[in-house]
């Protein structure tokens, strides 16, 4: 993967290359260069398959990280492009004209994270949650346990045991 990285470094301002495996690597780049990088990887380098488009919520930094995972099927290699976008009013350019399947991923991110992709077909349609009226649930400041306790009636008598606590008491009974 190093040689691809070196070739790309001449064209785009890239961050560090993280090689997770010999055939899987991630690289960060600014949002405005994403589209041309994707097109270059698809046309020149042979990464023709969009595997997935997903997001990570960096709550402390106030950013969303979008990961575009591309795959080169003939050489069996994957490269992930990471893009950081600000968390408030998150919006990103859609790539649904490059790969039509990205429209579904963008619809999911719109519903679950609140990242808008203007122009993506059907991006505002309900994906899994119908009639959702709270903040997008995959965000880390959404407390799912609190939501579940407040909105759904529970059956009483549920007891939970923390396995670590239980084993600690079993194995080391005297310690506090």
């Amino acid at each position: 993967m190093r040689e691809i990285y070196d070739r790309l470094k001449h064209l785009f301002p890239l961050g560090e290359l993280t090689e997770q495996r010999p055939d899987l690597a991630f690289v960060t780049l600014p949002a405005e260069f994403l589209r041309s990088a994707l097109l270059h990887l698809r046309d020149q380098e042979g990464f023709t398959h969009l595997v997935l488009l997903t997001a990570v919520d960096w709550l402390e930094d106030g950013q969303f990280q979008l990961t575009y995972l591309l795959s080169n099927r003939t050489q069996a290699r994957d490269i992930g492009l990471r893009v950081m976008i600000p968390r408030d009013a998150a919006t990103m350019e859609g790539i649904h004209d490059v790969w039509p399947t990205a429209a579904t991923y963008q619809r999911e991110l719109r519903e679950m994270f609140g990242i808008d992709f203007p122009g993506s077909p059907g991006v505002n349609d309900d994906f899994i949650l119908e009639g959702w009226h709270d903040i997008p649930p995959y965000r880390r400041d959404f407390d799912t346990k609190k939501y579940a306790e407040e909105n759904f009636s529970q059956r009483p008598g549920r007891a939970t045991t923390d396995p670590a606590q239980h084993m600690k008491e079993q194995l080391y009974p005297g310690e506090a």
Binding site: I128, E130, G131, P137, F142, T144, A148, N151
Partner: protein, 215 residues
């Protein structure tokens, strides 16, 4: 939330050119709530009917959750539910038993209510798995319900995550005993406490675009 455009009140032009107004949620359904259907006149006839109902249970072929994978082995020669009189039917009109197999997200709950209300009296509901009892593995999920019998009247729970097919067969036997004792009156219970069930359902389903009773 906005409803789908074909469910709104609108003017429609018929094939013969006549324009008329149609309101789908009101026109295509009847607005009567469910009624309590009493048992047959004499005890002997009702006993015969209950025996026949217990020997011939037709399950609605709607796998609502991951428990549906435990229903497939029952159709195979190893577990063979057909010798118990159990058959799967594709349409709610012909089905007697609705198995809620596993977790029930609010999206599926809306469809499950619609299917349940289309079934004919008497009908039974089995809750399969621990997710129907108290939320199970998804106890802190924002999307699944935690207590099935707030939304549908449940006759029997089969616990497990997932229960094995032998457990399902044992559950069918228990359900047969319940039906034969005349206690399988979930449909009448639904009709009696209809407003309570409907209020619970509407509390979790936020985009209600169906009539109140889908018969």
């Amino acid at each position: 939330m906005s409803m789908k455009p074909e469910l709104l009140k609108r003017m429609v032009k018929g094939p013969d050119g006549v324009e008329f107004e149609v309101e789908p949620l009101r026109d295509y359904y009847c607005e009567a709530p469910p009624t309590v259907m009493p048992a047959a006149y004499s005890k002997i006839v009702e006993g015969l009917f209950n025996w026949a109902r217990s020997e011939s249970i037709w399950i609605l072929g709607f796998g609502t959750g991951c428990g549906a994978i435990e229903m497939r082995p029952l159709m195979t020669p190893r577990f063979d539910a057909y010798r118990y009189g159990v058959q799967w039917r594709p349409t709610p009109r012909q089905a007697n038993l609705f198995i809620i197999s596993g977790y029930l997200s609010t999206k599926t709950l809306k469809r499950a209510i619609r299917s349940y209300e289309q079934m004919q009296n008497p009908k039974y509901v089995i809750g399969l798995g621990s997710c129907t009892v108290n939320g199970g593995m998804y106890w802190d999920s924002y999307n699944t319900i935690k207590r099935l019998d707030d939304y549908l009247p449940v006759d029997l729970y089969i616990t497990g995550c997932m229960p094995r097919p032998e457990a399902l067969l044992a559950g069918f036997e228990d359900l047969k005993k319940i039906i034969r004792a005349g206690k399988g009156e979930g449909a009448n219970q639904y009709a009696e406490r209809f407003d309570w069930y409907k209020a619970n359902q509407k509390q979790v389903i936020h985009d209600w675009d169906m009539p109140d009773y889908n018969w």
